[in-house]
Subunit: 546 residues, 2 copies
Amino acid sequence: MSPAHDHRRRRLGGWGFEGEAFPPSPQLLAWLEDRIGPARHPVSSGPIAAPGLEGRALPETGLEPSADPLDRLAHARGQGLVDVLRLRTGRVTALPDAVLRPTAADDVAAVLGACASAGVRVIPWGGGTSVTGGVNVVAGDGPVVSLDLERMAGVLDLDEVSGLATVGPGTAGPRLEAELATRGFTLGHFPQSWELATVGGWVATRSSGQESLGYGRIEDMVAGLELVAPRDRLWLPAQPASAAGPDLRQLVMGSEGRLGVITEVTLRVRRRPDELGVDAALLPDLDRGLEAARQLTLSGLPLSVLRLSDTAETQVAMAVGLASSRFAGLARRWLRLRGIGPDACLLLMGSAGHPDDVAQALAAARSIVRSHGAVTLGRGPGEHWKRDRFRHPYLRESLLDLGYATDTFETATTWRRAAEVRRRIVTAISSALEAIDERVAVLCHVSHPYRDGTSLYFTFFLRCADDPDATVERWARVKRTANHALVECGATLSHHHGIGQWHAPGYPLEVGAVGRDLVAAAAHRMDPDGILNPHVLLDPTDRLEA
Amino acid sequence: MSPAHDHRRRRLGGWGFEGEAFPPSPQLLAWLEDRIGPARHPVSSGPIAAPGLEGRALPETGLEPSADPLDRLAHARGQGLVDVLRLRTGRVTALPDAVLRPTAADDVAAVLGACASAGVRVIPWGGGTSVTGGVNVVAGDGPVVSLDLERMAGVLDLDEVSGLATVGPGTAGPRLEAELATRGFTLGHFPQSWELATVGGWVATRSSGQESLGYGRIEDMVAGLELVAPRDRLWLPAQPASAAGPDLRQLVMGSEGRLGVITEVTLRVRRRPDELGVDAALLPDLDRGLEAARQLTLSGLPLSVLRLSDTAETQVAMAVGLASSRFAGLARRWLRLRGIGPDACLLLMGSAGHPDDVAQALAAARSIVRSHGAVTLGRGPGEHWKRDRFRHPYLRESLLDLGYATDTFETATTWRRAAEVRRRIVTAISSALEAIDERVAVLCHVSHPYRDGTSLYFTFFLRCADDPDATVERWARVKRTANHALVECGATLSHHHGIGQWHAPGYPLEVGAVGRDLVAAAAHRMDPDGILNPHVLLDPTDRLEA
């Protein structure tokens, strides 16, 4: 079965495809029990039913609307923790009134025109993988349509000389890579959501993939695009660079559906590498790990992956495997002799290309990290990571089955401030539930380094409450604490998940009221009736518990 | 004398500093005479006098205004051909009513507030090197102030760990590099205007330097900035990357003063390289040259310079030197034997770094270009280029003295279309003056390659008319022809000179009326009274002859 024609069924009420799972290791469970206590309240995952919400009247758009309750439910929310909790426990209180599936930009224009005239809201839908409330229908709104772009998918044109692929917005990662592979090309954009998320969603949210060190962020890959809004189309053709005014592509990227629907994207693609080789190393502590990561980034070596886990994440992800081995004691003593103790941090560094070039790049990388006290571990851990890189999101489902809730958020800051920002964020969210006598466990890693700074990716765990709404409330407390701490630190509210509904209250704190107004002015020009995904980005209402 | 404290005097009515010159070679003059005929009407360069325009009343701004007529004249226009023609011939008909020199962002805010209330227009002034009418005062406007940022200059902060330098907008290239050099850093941004142009101007116009292949464009270097507008300030702190909404830095970059005055910029800087080594090669023809340039760009080699001249430019710049040698015939036969004939194209390829790394990179680059039929020429031509790289603009002054007018413009397009776009542009402008029985000579080179395409830089020459206004009219005809041809080709109106006043009529054709409206909406939010540089970018009036 070609990945371009994946016939697995999307799971309703959880991540990914039916039949797939990524159960936690006994070591992770032991660690969780140690850190936040035993789980007491499993969250059932029985059959999902749609609430009996009647679809409201919609204008004629020229497309056949889908009013099927389960289809509507599948388009009601994204993939944030609260979304899954509400789906699992039958607490979804708002559905789109219909799902529309355009096949061309003209369809999109017709839908937006008709909906604008009728005051019907439209939420563009790609893979539905937002973890920031980016596609959620809000209860109490007027009629809402989910505009699912799955039929506007595939590679429409490939200019092999310029390395430019024009693709439909609904193209998900596997189909994109499979179609490019037939001509020997790759985009190289591999976010964790790659199996489900789409090109249009990546562009709308400023996505970044796991190999961003080599291939760049989605912003670096977009050469041109078309945006369809209720009154107009904005067509920005592929150009390698331009000084003709502000770069309006950069205004569309990150607009999260507020300015229009992305109907076509021209992407910079590259020749497919022969392999991705990933080496592992242990650094003595996080400070030395960060310095090694910075030096690797500055080195100019052709690396595409760099991932540094903090001590806690290292213990969970890596030393756990070691601890279970019958050679654990021996290995620990061997590492100790080499300066690697309990504060060790795991570093993965990968290079994509011809095997000889990969070997050469990784040899040079090993030499750099050794000068920072690293012990290198070969390719074993990297092979594990490659195998599981798109499966980790399934872990959340298994943990919910047991009664643990987990979620992630991320930021970016300069190298000079990275250690301090991490410490402040970890400290803040670890104690976010102190008032209710619950603990929060936190892991952190670096996975998108730049010359001037790095992303920081946080994974947190808490125990589910008896009542799902109380679990949501716990989660919302942690999120509020995290968002507040990020703003206090001067670190961005998101490195690659976007603003959505859930980070929108903090958005004016990050870019100023003036910055928010600039985006609002653009939205008003494109969508004067305010029908397009109206609660993301610019609506400051706190909807964490919605 | 440190370049940070350059006490040479700016020339009024021409490029650069007094006492500097770059006279044309006899070979260039012979080529011009052959192509467009002998020059008949030298343009005098006598003493420059300010027209007796009384400064109009201005509001109190807290700053001491300079009303000196020569200071006002020096701030009346940029460095386009028509600007110089008008200055030389005493035909400048509009001056700013005063020059103001703020020393801090608060000064700028006070000036803008007072001017907005009084309806006084403000033109931000950096190095005044615009070649697109980007800083020109328009006759018939109400009172106008030139806001010269020269006192807001220098490196304010350097974060060596993150490689981030915060600098004043009025910092010119030599001062910036000298101050960074004391700490071992470089920005690596070297446009031809580097000796005069400033950081604020680079950012406002999306500038690109001669080493953009290695260091990137100014957009890639800006991590954060502050913009002061009449009502508000927009502060976007340094971040390595963010998914928190659209990138508003990218809206400021290219706004050419319409959105506000850039008062501070945080730039990504790097460790200074030990040397810049530049190798030369001759390719058999332009098609093979373009393919070699594309392959060099895709190779991932650490190159910072790549410059490919078309056959005409090669003849003028390079074979000319060869032709004058007494070994010319021998050399020509030697090259013929190696496949290099009359269509030869000169390629320069440079690498910056440690001498060993430079040698290695250039050896690999030579190997690539040889596979495309190149004959390599060693480092001689590159040393010439390095010596003269910032002196070429002086050539225009010497040619005007003789009666030849020259100007440049540039674009970018995809690799697939590069040869065709060059051919169409050269064809169009070569015959732009056919109606008046004058010829136009054109040279073209590639100097900013990208993975998906390249810049194309055109230099054109025409003969001056008896009457300076008729010369301006000839030049304007060529510019209109070029702008029209660029739009027809779907190539951008500018790769790095910007839109200014002179490309503004074509701007809505490039980004659509919608794109123009988006920028206008942003300008209206920041500057509701429309006082900021009001005739660039968004004013579609044809002012080529103004």
